[in-house]
């Protein structure tokens, strides 16, 4: 481990897909700035390091840690707490760390339901597991006992486990935004800029995706919800107006409205807008408000066009929502 005086940088993945790391590499030359300005002390995906090395470090000896991924296992939690202790600045990096993201959608189901999906051998399921073997947390093999981390019944964003300094949203965060943040930190080190107030969202805009969306918008009234695969939308017109549920209106800006401009709906990966408590509630309320009917029966009918509201409105933020998880998921804990 180099003893140079460069500020130390760490990045770790919890319950995540690794896309965040790729996004960092995607910053191209910027990666060199990181190397030039930081001493990378811990980054499992990029270099070899052991947990014990981190444990050995002095508290707050790391200047910045990008923690991506949520807390699904005891290992995730341990590392989150460890890195919190060792870092001056802990950044919840990406949607998983900030709000749970896709792994958080698993909070709709109990641990048991999840394991059945993954390990049980059933029709239409590729798993081959004739003895229906399930992972055991502790296993006594002749060579000695093996432990694997505990799989918690619900997934939590890291701010439910440790104190977080900044949030960098996105699934994954856009490389340009990452680059900006890196520049910012470097400027701060050089004393050219001040840190934003603790708890703020960095690397994103103050408004929502519609702000960056080029599609023409009008007053909205929806008579029928359609799914994008069932219908050819007008390329220049607001998707929501055409009955396709687009999460743009509720999703924080910063991505440059990539999906809508490519003809796909915004699925909401940049998370809640400034000051919003519950993403799903906002989207749900907005979308239902513009339904064009005054008749309960007809409204029911129209709403059939949204077969999976939880999945549609909480795709990224279920774990950080007010309800957090479904009843069956909570049930597991008792």
């Amino acid at each position: 481990m180099s003893a140079n005086s460069k500020p130390k940088f760490a990045m770790y993945w919890g319950a995540s897909c690794g896309g965040c790391e790729v996004a960092v590499l995607n910053t191209h030359e910027k990666i060199l700035d990181i190397d030039a300005n930081f001493d990378v002390v811990f980054w499992p995906v990029a270099m070899d390091a052991k947990y014990k090395d981190v444990e050995a470090m002095e508290d707050e000896s790391i200047l910045v840690t990008f923690y991506n991924g949520g807390i699904r296992t005891s290992e995730n939690e341990h590392l989150a707490k460890l890195l919190r202790r060792k870092s001056k600045i802990l950044v919840a990096f990406g949607s998983c760390a900030s709000e749970g993201c896709i792994p958080g959608l698993a909070n709709l189901y109990s641990k048991n339901e999840l394991f059945n999906t993954v390990y049980a051998q059933r029709d239409g399921c590729s798993t081959v597991n004739p003895e229906n073997i399930r992972p055991q947390q502790n296993w006594d093999a002749p060579e000695g006992s093996i432990q694997i981390p505990e799989f918690y019944s619900i997934l939590r964003p890291i701010n439910q486990v440790v104190d977080v300094d900044y949030y960098l949203p996105g699934c994954p965060p856009e490389s340009e935004r990452i680059a900006e943040v890196v520049d910012l930190v470097i400027q701060v080190i050089r004393g050219e800029a001040a840190l934003p107030p603790k708890g703020s969202v960095i690397g994103a805009g103050a408004s929502t995706v519609c702000d960056e969306c080029k599609r023409s918008r009008n007053v909205k009234t929806i008579k029928k919800f359609v799914r994008i695969q069932d219908f050819m939308p007008d390329p220049s017109m607001c998707l929501l107006e055409q009955g396709i549920v687009c999460n743009g209106p509720a999703t924080r800006s910063g991505c440059g409205a990539l999906c809508p401009s490519a003809g796909a709906v915004c699925i909401g990966c940049y998370g809640v807008a400034e000051g919003v408590i519950d993403y799903g509630a906002r989207m749900l309320s907005a979308v239902s408000s513009v339904i064009d009917s005054r008749n309960e029966k007809e409204i029911e009918k129209i709403i059939e066009g949204i077969p999976d509201p939880a999945g549609m409105f909480y795709r990224f933020s279920l774990a950080s929502s007010l309800l957090g998880a479904s009843k069956s998921a909570w049930h597991d804990k008792e």
Partner: protein, 158 residues
């Protein structure tokens, strides 16, 4: 003894300022009795009801949520309660998906003159929710950062 064992649900009720809150007033003025489990919050219009409020109530310990406004067509803000009607439908659908039983959330139209009907609706809902039993979402959900055990224990004071 019986009474003590009986589960007393906590229900948060949202009323509009013009019809349903006045219906509650009327129930009072005419001394119509209903169980004390419902605690009302006055909004200007049922159209003000943000689903966030409902989720907040559940995640903070409510066992049920009652939403009430003027009858469709009689809204004091012309037609805002139709928006409530739409939101409620989608909200209920999602709550069911999240494992909520039918009846934990209820939409009731009550005009300023329907004190009795309002009281009956409340009584009915309390019975339903009592049968469903405690929701305890806040205890389940305490780890998701909205409140802490210490605070919950404070409930003992009442």
């Amino acid at each position: 003894m019986e009474e003590q064992q009986q589960f007393e649900p906590k229900i948060i009720g949202f009323t509009c300022n013009w019809c349903s809150y006045r219906a509650a007033d009327l129930a009072g003025i005419s001394r119509t009795k209903y169980p004390p489990n419902v605690r009302l919050i006055r909004l200007m219009c049922s159209g003000r009801l943000d689903p966030t409020f409902v989720f907040k109530a559940f995640s903070s310990g409510a066992d049920g949520v009652l939403i009430s406004g003027c009858h469709p067509g009689d809204c004091h803000y012309v037609d805002q309660n139709y928006k409530t009607m739409r939101r409620f439908a989608l909200m209920e659908k999602m709550l069911v998906q999240m494992g909520f039983e039918q009846g934990r959330i209820k939409l009731v139209w009550a005009s300023a003159g329907e004190g009795l009907q309002f009281a009956e609706a409340v009584t009915g809902m309390v019975e339903t929710v009592r049968k469903l039993g405690p929701l305890d979402w806040h205890i389940r959900g305490q780890s998701n950062g909205h409140l802490t055990k210490e605070l919950l224990l404070k409930e003992d004071v009442v």
